[in-house]
């Protein structure tokens, strides 16, 4: 709901908001330029003195104005010719032309009305309203993403366009909200929608009839400092019934030209003061530094526009088109989808197509649209749900659990829940599990037992599909073709071979980083912005299912590096191990932010065995800031499969690697990486006490051995690996 409130105003008003922001940013410079260029009156100068100086220089003076920047302008007639100038208050003489700046005038008209008068003003006000909605809904999204308002400035992860969008937003949002709110006020005031009462001094019925009193003899002009002056208008020459009129920061009134007496006075009304403050906050006139800050913040709007559209587009690409999606009230099968990135939607689309082909009427909708009252013809309801973060509802399932728990009567048609997740995360399918538990607790009849799909496995999905077919009494074959990102041809530059002697042929394969068009580099997706720990998906010839390898290099290294071990009968590893420099493979890159080293300064404890060294080596290579990194590495024999052996020595010399402990499993006394960890237990405990982060990469057995060893090491401190995991200080990339 909030996301929709952010997306649609953003897309619809994109052009308008961009014009508003750019013209506003350009305009924000003028008040400061005026402030710096306008000669300021010396402190204590009285209006009487200033007016006398100007009158001496220009006897036909009619009006003197002072703008909030301190700029003084005089208007006069000289022999019937109108004249005007910006005045140096020290001399009363003109310094520069008082004609309006044509650039500023053009920009102002663009900014407030697109040169379209009232129609344009309304359009621009709509733009400002869109900006305000974007600021408010965006703030809610940022707070939700960061995990609360107090974590407003929490570090961000994920692809560049998303990070850039939020980085700019959380700084600029306050200025943008202020500018759009004040803009709406000013438009309302222009269209007389606000009850703003103007202060009106009553024109005196009688004047003294005298003329010619010197300005310096008028008390009010002597008492009023120039810094409070707004405007002084002179009476018509030769008209004894006319008066001076004076406006100051306090109010406005009239002065008798014969006696200097103040004839009528009205203070500024409260409304006028509020209005003036709002005008100042919007234009920066009278608050030039604030104006510059607001203008600078406005410059973030075009960047947020571009990144926002990219975000929307990437999200949209992830959602497949559904053919023959039936209305909720007419469908026999209701499919409710909880998807964050869109991959669960693609599974739902496969199921939708298969059921439709089997003659069923199917309605697919996001879980957030759950509305059992509309499912009049439903015979079964299915929930396909991913999980966001640590067990939260994914984007398209917000509010589902609340709605379900508030239901007095659960729907009669039986329910089936299928969870999508990644077993290597501690909260595997936590959200789908919660849905299933709650449904059970509320007595919702099950159609099939709760099941899960690991890492988008088509096999898991097909197995569940067969079970579903049985439950429905139909033949159901779910052949899911995962929607793959565009692959690129990667050309091998070099390979280093290890492990042949210990029956574990392994190679470090280095590919040239693909050349990318500018727009792809801007998005920062895939090959445009990968780093060590991200995943390289390789499509082996003869298979549509990609295999994933952890990346051992980052974009800025200029190459794509992975570590591969040949598995007997392995299709993909066999093809990779047969590559010679110059050969190419089809590959794509997938971000894996949960296994990034991050930007902290706290020590890192890297633990890996065999090919698991890949991403860990990448972290060390990228450690230009010399963060303390301690590596625990398990191999079979140092003469055969000491992957990155020479590099590690060089990195240690450069200070990129603080310490290394190895474990050798072949030999008289087999030694594994968890044994090395226990051997250094005291040091490991000290590092963790000091805030170190633990990253583990390798096979599942090694990972569980490491977890056991760590549990023993941490126990005396009253800590557990689970507690560290909850803090994000213990992460695994396990296969």
């Amino acid at each position: 709901m909030i996301r929709a409130l952010h997306r649609w105003p953003g897309l619809v008003a994109l052009a308008l908001v961009t014009i508003l922001a750019l013209s506003g940013a350009a305009l924000s410079v003028f008040p400061m330029a005026e402030r710096l260029s306008a000669p300021q009156a010396q402190s204590g100068l009285a209006v009487a003195d200033l007016a006398t100086r100007i009158q001496t220089a220009y006897p036909g003076v009619e009006q003197i104005k002072r703008s909030p920047s301190g700029k003084i302008t005089a208007y006069w007639f000289d022999g019937g010719t109108p004249g005007s100038a910006i005045i140096d208050p020290a001399t009363g003489r003109g310094l520069a032309s008082a004609d309006p700046n044509q650039t500023e005038r053009w920009l102002t008209n663009l900014h407030r009305s697109l040169f379209l008068d009232d129609t344009g003003r309304i359009a621009m006000a709509a733009g400002a309203a869109a900006m305000l909605i974007l600021a408010l809904s965006g703030s809610l999204l940022v707070a939700r993403r960061a995990g609360g308002w107090r974590r407003w400035f929490a570090p961000l992860r994920g692809p560049l366009s998303g990070r850039l969008h939020v980085e700019i937003a959380r700084v600029a949002v306050l200025g943008l909200a202020l500018s759009s709110l004040t803009a709406l006020w000013m438009t309302a005031s222009t269209f007389d929608l606000l009850p703003i009462e103007a202060s009106v001094a009553t024109l005196p019925a009688e004047v003294s009839g005298g003329t010619g009193l010197a300005l310096s003899a008028m008390d009010i002009l002597v008492q009023t400092p120039v810094t409070e002056l707004r405007e002084l208008s002179f009476p018509y020459a030769g008209d004894a019934s006319d008066v001076f009129s004076l406006s100051t920061d306090q109010g406005t009134g009239y002065i008798d030209q014969g006696t200097g007496a103040l004839l009528g006075w009205a203070d500024l009304t409260a409304w006028e003061r509020v209005s003036e403050t709002i005008y100042m906050l919007h234009t920066g006139q009278g608050a030039a530094p604030l104006g510059l800050v607001l203008g600078f913040m406005a410059l973030g709007v075009p960047v947020m526009g571009v990144t926002g559209v990219l975000l929307w587009w990437t999200r949209r690409q992830g959602r497949p088109k559904l053919r023959h999606n039936m209305p909720a009230s007419k469908a026999g099968t209701i499919l409710l989808v909880g998807s964050e990135g869109g991959s669960t939607w693609s599974f739902a689309a496969t199921l939708h197509a298969a059921l439709t082909a089997a003659g069923h009427s199917v309605h697919a909708a996001p879980m957030s649209a759950f509305d059992p009252d509309r499912y009049a013809g439903a015979e079964r309801i299915m929930v396909l749900a991913a999980t966001y973060g640590d067990g939260d509802a994914p984007a398209s399932a917000r509010g589902f659990l609340d709605r379900l728990s508030r239901l007095e009567n659960v729907p009669a048609p039986p329910l089936s829940v299928l969870g999508f997740g990644d077993r290597s995360f501690p909260d595997y399918c936590a959200f789908a599990g919660a849905v299933s538990e709650l449904a059970k607790a509320k007595g919702w009849a099950p159609l099939m037992p709760y099941d899960t799909v690991d890492r988008q496995s088509p096999q898991d999905f097909a197995r569940w599909g067969r079970a579903l077919g049985q439950a429905m009494g139909i033949e159901l074959a779910l052949a899911h073709q995962p929607v793959l990102p565009d692959t690129q041809a990667l050309t091998l530059i070099s390979r280093r071979d290890y492990g042949a002697e210990v029956q574990a042929p392994t190679a470090i394969l280095r590919f040239a980083a693909p050349k990318l068009p500018l727009w792809r580099r801007l998005t920062g997706h895939g090959f445009a912005g990968f780093q060590a720990g991200d995943l390289l998906g390789i499509l082996p010839e003869g298979s549509a299912v990609p295999r994933f390898y952890s990346l051992a290099s980052a974009r800025r290294d200029g190459f794509v590096e992975i570590v591969v071990r040949k598995h007997t009968g392995g299709l993909c590893s066999g093809q990779l191990m047969a590559l010679e420099p110059g050969d190419a493979v089809s590959a794509f890159c997938r971000s894996n932010p949960s296994f990034h080293a991050g930007r902290g300064r706290k020590p890192l404890i890297l633990i890996g065995a065999g090919t698991g060294i890949g991403p860990l080596a990448g972290f060390i290579r990228a450690n230009a800031r010399l963060r303390p990194i301690h590596l625990f590495f398990g191999m079979r024999h140092p003469d055969s499969d000491f992957l990155y052996g020479e590099d590690l020595r060089a990195w240690q010399d450069e200070g990129r690697l603080a310490g290394i402990a190895t474990a050798v499993s072949r030999g008289a006394r087999p030694h594994y990486v968890q044994d090395a960890l226990r051997g250094e237990g005291a040091q490991v405990a000290a590092l963790i006490r000091g805030g170190a982060r633990v990253m583990v990469c390798g096979g599942r057995d090694m990972a569980s051995g490491v977890a056991d060893a760590l549990a023993d090491i941490l126990a005396p401190m009253g800590l557990t690996p689970m507690a560290l995991k909850a803090e994000g200080r213990y992460v695994e990339d396990v296969y």
Binding site: P82, D99, P100, R105, D117, T190, D192, L203
Partner: protein
């Protein structure tokens, strides 16, 4: 043609002498190329004593800017009711404002004066831009304004 008889009937001062006797008068105001945004113009009439008698036209629709037509504003207290129904768009630099309205005969050759106050955003306020006595002899003779009005004519 904009017939303003009804409107003028509300601004009582102009109709008091003799409402039955009125004639169509065309007021033509041409502006100079003063190099600014559209000008606000207030056209109004004062009686032989110089007191405000009534408004004829207000070029400019936003009442928050009316205070910049300082003489008119002083005379009316800025009362927007004075120009109810006789308000139009502001007039661009170099453009001409043409209005035709029925004016009471009694206003002519009786010491009444037609005034124009002008104002442009971020430029000079020009009260009394034009002040021309209403006489039958003066009809058709262009008058030059002080700052924004290149020439002003009333034709009967």
């Amino acid at each position: 043609m904009k017939s303003l008889l009804a409107a003028l009937a509300m601004t009582t001062a102009l109709t008091l002498p003799a409402i039955a006797m009125a004639r169509p008068v065309t007021l033509t105001t041409t502006l100079t190329n003063y190099g600014g945004d559209g000008a606000y113009l207030a056209l109004y009439v004062t009686d032989p004593t110089g007191a405000y008698a009534g408004s004829l036209w207000m070029a400019g629709g936003k009442s928050k800017y009316y205070k910049h037509m300082t003489d008119w504003y002083r005379a009316t207290g800025g009362d927007p009711a004075q120009v109810d129904g006789i308000t139009g768009a502001s007039v661009g630099a170099g453009r001409t404002l043409d209005i035709t309205l029925d004016l009471a005969d009694a206003l002519f050759d009786a010491g009444y004066t037609l005034h124009i106050d002008g104002a442009v955003e971020n430029m000079r306020e020009s009260p009394n831009e034009v002040a021309v006595p209403l006489t039958t002899a003066g009809a058709g003779i262009p008058v030059t304004g002080r700052r924004y009005v290149a020439d002003f004519t009333y034709d009967m």
